[in-house]
Subunit: 147 residues, 2 copies
DNA sequence: CAAGATTGAACCCTCAATCTTA
DNA sequence: TAAGATTGAGGGTTCAATCTTG
């Protein structure tokens, strides 16, 4: 076993810094464009689009949490804020612990406004900068990180 | 001009999702290891290590902010929390608007504990998964995103 | 008890307004 | 006025403790 030094080398620093920059910028830029176009946050968009995709307008909170890969409490706090802003409603069907989440008219409207902005932003800020022969590099690293 | 569809294609979705996963996981994992080893957050570590590197224990708040690339108020809030936890002290030398930040004994100790954990975490979670001939791909994307 | 969900505290971050000192 | 810094509000996230219902 070779002992590794306690500090990163210049080469390691440079690569780590690049990945940190990439990570910080990528999500922020897309979220900012969604916010500007439809007045909702990136998290709001994730929730709204998942409910529409998987549940066709209504979905159990549990299924939603699993699809997003979020913690229970994170989703609960998020839905509380969204309910307050009238983007959706929550209701628990008689005598079960499960909660159903339903998009409101306002939520559907915001989603419709945000969707094209989302696609445009992802293309303009991210995809445009990744040449086809580099795509596999990102797919591989994400795959290793998600295990 | 070709009109782009309002939704991402399956191929676009896959790549965007990979970059999102990478972005969400990379920083979180390193921060979690720092937290576990020294009881400080990733932001705390960034602040402490910058002060030691650039200022040798003491640095002006302004210089620190520029080095980190953070907003004024973000740094102010962060330093307020760190001061409360006794990681550092702030003092303004007579009659100037500038503020000097100085590491406390406790801060130096936390930094010393966190540094090897940081290097190990970056290597184990990130660098290990990037073969040398792929490094340039990340450097290029980060460069484009930081402009 | 177990599973689904909520709550409160603490931390993190941004924006806009404000304070301070030259 | 301009530059450095702070503040308060509001959204976002995690953790641990708690509530609820079968």
């Amino acid at each position: 076993m070779t002992v590794q030094p306690e500090r990163l080398s210049a080469r390691e620093q440079t690569l780590w810094h690049a990945i940190k920059t990439l990570s910080e910028q990528a999500l922020i830029r897309v979220a900012a464009d969604i916010e500007a176009s439809a007045g909702i946050s990136g998290s709001d968009f994730s929730v709204l689009s998942r409910i529409e995709e998987l549940g066709n307008g209504e979905l159990s909170q549990h299924a939603l949490g699993r699809a997003l890969g979020w913690q229970r409490s994170r989703l609960s706090h998020q839905l509380t804020r969204m309910e307050k802003r009238q983007l959706l409603t929550r209701e628990s069907h008689s005598g079960t612990p499960a909660v159903w989440v339903r998009l409101s008219i306002h939520g559907l409207h915001a989603l419709a406004e945000a969707r094209p902005a989302h696609a445009t932003a992802v293309r303009a800020h991210i995809l445009r900068h990744v040449p086809p022969d580099h795509e596999v590099v990102f797919l591989e690293l994400a795959d290793r990180l998600s295990r």
